[in-house]
């Protein structure tokens, strides 16, 4: 009885964080499931993918209804991200993975610093009309393709790349970018979760309570989002980005960060 409750609570924390930041919550779930619950890594990743869908659907339902995410921009970028992910899956064996991991880890520092700078659209949290005004759309498409490729090569969710791309490159307000990222991330995770299901790598005993917690957390996060100051969200996002960057640097240099911890 205690374990399902703890899994539910873990899922709830990950879902709330994911809904607020536009990330899937894998950054919390995979290490916690592996280290504290002893779930094998491959199964932890599969559960995390199911949770990404739960975060995405739970948060995006509220964000779409309340005009907080840009459905049209999300669907355009989604096309390039999914194409990039497919390309990445096929390119991965031929790319210098360690070099890319180190490069990504190093890029995190200037990206996080840029994100923390105030922008004129800082307080915008809703879409007026059908879509937000964006700049560098073709570059955004290219970056989304790159984000999809990087996600597949590095094995990370798209959120930590998509949100900075939308905010820094395309001028999308931060809260709209996180909400739009939430709208997008469920689609690629859905394709992946079926692959894991068909291979029998999804542990239902772990997945069911965790996913239920994530659904509750994502619903809570979507309700909290309008009331959380953008500055605070950006700071938390920068920390999350820092953790992902540190993980990538460690992997690039052949160090297993989690085993050290």
């Amino acid at each position: 009885m205690l374990i399902p409750l703890l899994l539910f609570a873990t899922g709830m924390g990950a879902g709330t964080l994911g809904a607020l930041l536009g990330v899937g919550g894998g950054i919390v779930l995979v290490p916690v499931l592996s280290l504290f619950f002893g779930v094998p890594l491959q199964h932890a990743v599969a559960v995390s993918l199911a949770c990404v869908i739960a975060t995405s659907s739970g948060a995006a339902a509220a964000y779409v209804r309340d005009h907080r995410c840009d459905v049209r921009l999300g669907m355009q970028l989604e096309l390039f991200t999914v194409a990039g992910a497919i390309a990445g899956a096929f390119l991965a064996p031929h790319l210098p993975k360690a070099a890319i991991q180190i490069l990504f880890g190093l890029m995190v520092i200037p990206v996080a610093r840029s994100l923390l700078k105030p922008t004129p659209t800082e307080d915008v949290a809703r879409i007026e009309g059908r879509t937000v005004e964006v700049r560098n759309l073709p570059l955004g498409y290219a970056a989304s393709f790159g984000a999809g490729t990087m996600s597949a090569v590095l094995g990370i969710g798209g959120g930590p790349i998509k949100v900075p791309v939308m905010t820094l490159l395309m001028g999308v307000p931060f809260k709209v970018a996180t909400a739009t990222s939430n709208f997008m991330i469920g689609v690629t995770a859905a394709a992946s979760v079926f692959v894991y299901l068909s291979r029998g790598a999804l542990d239902l005993g772990v997945a069911v309570p965790t996913v239920l917690g994530v659904i509750a957390g994502a619903t809570l996060g979507a309700r909290l989002m309008p009331h959380v100051p953008t500055r605070l969200l950006k700071k938390i996002f920068a920390v999350v980005l820092g953790v992902v960057g540190a993980q990538m640097l460690a992997k690039g240099f052949g160090v297993d960060l989690w085993s050290i911890l």
Binding site: S57, A60, V64, M75, Q76, A85, V124, A190, V195, V208
Partner: protein, 125 residues
């Protein structure tokens, strides 16, 4: 913040209705999945029925009818959860087309085709 794609009022209304339909699909799919998963978890805890750890997707454990029903409900919940964003993309195609947003409908169709392709190729993990 401005509307980069101004449109007539009726098309705008159809467009907004389309957005609300997408939200409804996401919410509906999630609630149905949560209902199935919640029922499976409650029954599993109440009657001490193990939810199958791993094994093939259709590998229902040998046991009573109750064991089978609980595990089928849990699996259906996960499948429904996975189908929800895919259904959202599929629904967006006719919705955008009806609202006169042909390019958006094409983007949706493109995503759908790539998703099916990626699942068939087993490319996305």
């Amino acid at each position: 913040m401005s509307d980069v794609n101004p449109q007539p009022a009726t098309a705008a209304a159809a467009s907004d209705a389309g957005d609300q339909a997408l939200a409804l699909i996401l919410r509906g799919g999630l609630f149905l999945a949560a209902g199935l998963l919640g029922a499976a978890l409650a029954a599993s805890l109440l009657f001490r029925i193990p939810l199958v750890g791993t094994g093939g997707f259709f590998a229902i454990p040998p046991g009573s009818g109750m064991d089978e029903a609980v595990n089928v409900a849990a699996r259906l919940g996960i499948v429904l959860l996975g189908l929800t964003p895919v259904a959202r993309v599929a629904l967006s195609v006719p919705l955008f087309a009806r609202a006169g947003e042909k390019s958006q409908a094409l983007f949706g169709l493109g995503v759908l085709i790539l998703l099916v392709l990626s699942m068939l190729l087993g490319a996305v993990e």
